[in-house]
Amino acid sequence: MFAYIIRRIFWAAIILLILSLVTFTLMHMIPGGPFDREKKLPSEIIANLEAYYHLDEPFWKQYLNYLGGILHFDLGPSFTSRSRTVNDIIRQQAPISAQLGLFAFFIAVALGIPLGILGALKQNTAIDYTCMWLAILGVSLPNMALGPFLIWIFGLKLGWLPIARWGGISHMILPAITLGTAYSAIIARLTRASMLQVIREDYIRTARAKGLSERIVMLHHALKNALIPVTTVLGPIFAIIITGSMIVEQIFAIPGIGKYFVTSVTNRDYPVIMGITLFFGALIVIANLVVDITYGFLDPRIRYE
């Protein structure tokens, strides 16, 4: 078991390393640098700036510098903001995205799993269709239309909730709904498919034959096992929610890391782009890692892969 965990962690580190290299390369391939301005800066100044940010060194050297920084958990300076480093930016804004993501995740799960279970139990009936219909509605309504619509109804017309920006819990509701509904669909369909499969398994029949009530059979035996494959996607979904928050953060003017990513791409702020990409990548990798390890605990066969 221990060896399994070590192997997994090792691969996680490799993945992050390669991610950093690929992102670094892609970024440098994109034309346009951080110091392009309306009026061309005098070459002396450009030379100064490039020296300060090590942009005049050969590619591989820059990359190694960067890696060295990472080992010290230093993601470098920002090109656009002289007073904040990438660490500052991530430190200040990522928690906000995380809060939003968590809330959205919670909504997605709270909506998705019950809908999926219901649909599986009443397969091919009107209830099944309704559940699936609701779930898919969530994923089909694009964020950018749903968001302003919710703002208009609940913020302006009814005045029940804040219109935008960040503050207390009330500020989190509308953006979290906008963000979470899409993923509730994925979770619902997955839960339903998984439940359907589990229901037909032998051990369920055995449980029934033993005389257990239908409710206990479903909730205790079926659900537990049905949720296993669902947990495999919960990891990546969690990370995806954080990434998918770009539009929502933009619309609701939430000072999170998704909104800032778009800004940094526009500004060609390399270190920030790299920092955020690596940060998200790390989240996804860690999420996968946790899921893998949990899976290893739950299903012993996997450990010997």
Partner: protein, 319 residues
């Protein structure tokens, strides 16, 4: 004699009853009402896309400025956009973009994924191990961020390139397609991973089956085994799983258009229309409502169809 005739009849009856997997699946599909509706809608969309010039009342770039922002009415059934262009016509032409992106994106990632997965699964051992590690790495990449970076790269590098070079050629293809070419590539490059995993998984389990061993014993070459025996068996579930991803690609395109990295105007795309109309949602809701509805209905249709196909083919199958 009578008995033999009877036997023959029974056997032939039995033969008639023994349908193949596909017909069975089709039956089950048709019984699933939502999936059938989904299928009908998808077919209707395809027809609309192909015959757009015949169906649409106006051309998609034909506008009268002084009529702009018209509310839905007699002249413009769904209203008009900021340049006075008929929204209905633009949505109809937009079907072309969304469907092409969905289908092309799905096709590109399908082809890449299935070939990759087949090779990995069939080769097995170390080759498989390394190939799948690569896929794992791919999974660690935040897809959306990557598509954004890729699109920025394509748009910046090729936007003003001299004709004659490779970049110039790609750029003119892109222009000819109204800006969709790079989107196809962008989405295709980032989305083949799931397909690869699926194909590899199925290949792995099929590989051990007896009929493959038989084929090998009979001297069939690897290529023949893959193409004649494995591929036909896995292609069904693979296509179905891809069908389920089409809505995702359509959404990606909408998102890219929304942030300005999508198709080139005046090519209409639903995402672009939502992005154009989004600022004016309070004053002219029809600008966003109808393209969003079109997007939703399309995604509904594909989702239900895909679900239904999967259920029909094998309700027990884990995808």
């Amino acid at each position: 004699m009578k008995i033999r005739v009877k036997e023959k009849e029974e056997t032939s009856k039995a033969k008639v009853k023994e349908t193949n997997l596909w017909k069975d699946a089709l039956h089950r599909l048709m019984r699933n009402r939502m999936a059938t509706i989904g299928g009908v809608i998808v077919i209707a969309l395809c027809i609309t896309a192909i015959f757009a010039p015949l169906v649409a009342p106006y051309a998609y770039d034909e506008g009268n400025f002084w009529n702009n922002y018209a509310k839905p009415g007699k002249e413009y059934w769904l209203g008009a956009d900021f340049m006075g262009r008929d929204l209905l016509s633009r949505i109809i032409y937009g079907t072309r973009v969304s469907l092409s992106v969905g289908l092309m994106g799905a096709t590109v990632s399908f082809v890449i994924g299935i070939i990759y997965g087949l090779i990995a699964g069939y080769a097995g051992g170390k080759v498989d191990n390394y190939m799948m590690r690569l896929v794992d790495i791919g999974y660690g990449v935040p897809t959306l961020l990557f598509i954004i970076l890729l699109m920025v790269y394509f748009k910046s590098s090729f936007a003003s390139i001299q004709p004659g070079t490779l970049g110039g050629m790609l750029s003119s293809i892109d222009n000819a397609l109204g800006g969709m070419f790079f989107i196809f590539i962008g989405i295709g490059i980032t989305s083949w991973l799931g397909m690869a995993r699926l194909a590899r998984g199925m290949t792995l389990s099929l590989k051990e089956k007896e009929f493959i061993e038989t084929a090998r014993a009979m001297g069939a070459s690897n290529l023949r085994i893959i193409s004649r025996h494995i591929l036909p068996n896995i292609i069904g579930p693979c296509i179905i799983s891809q069908t389920l991803t089409i809505p995702t690609y359509i959404l990606y395109e909408a998102f890219l258009s929304f942030i300005g990295l999508g198709v080139n105007p005046p090519t209409p795309s639903w995402g672009m229309m939502i992005s154009e109309g989004y600022q004016g949602m309070r004053s002219y809701p029809h600008l966003v409502l109808f393209p969003a509805l079109a997007l939703s209905i399309t995604m509904f249709a594909f989702n239900f169809l895909g679900d239904g196909l999967r259920d029909a083919l094998d309700p027990h199958m884990k995808l």
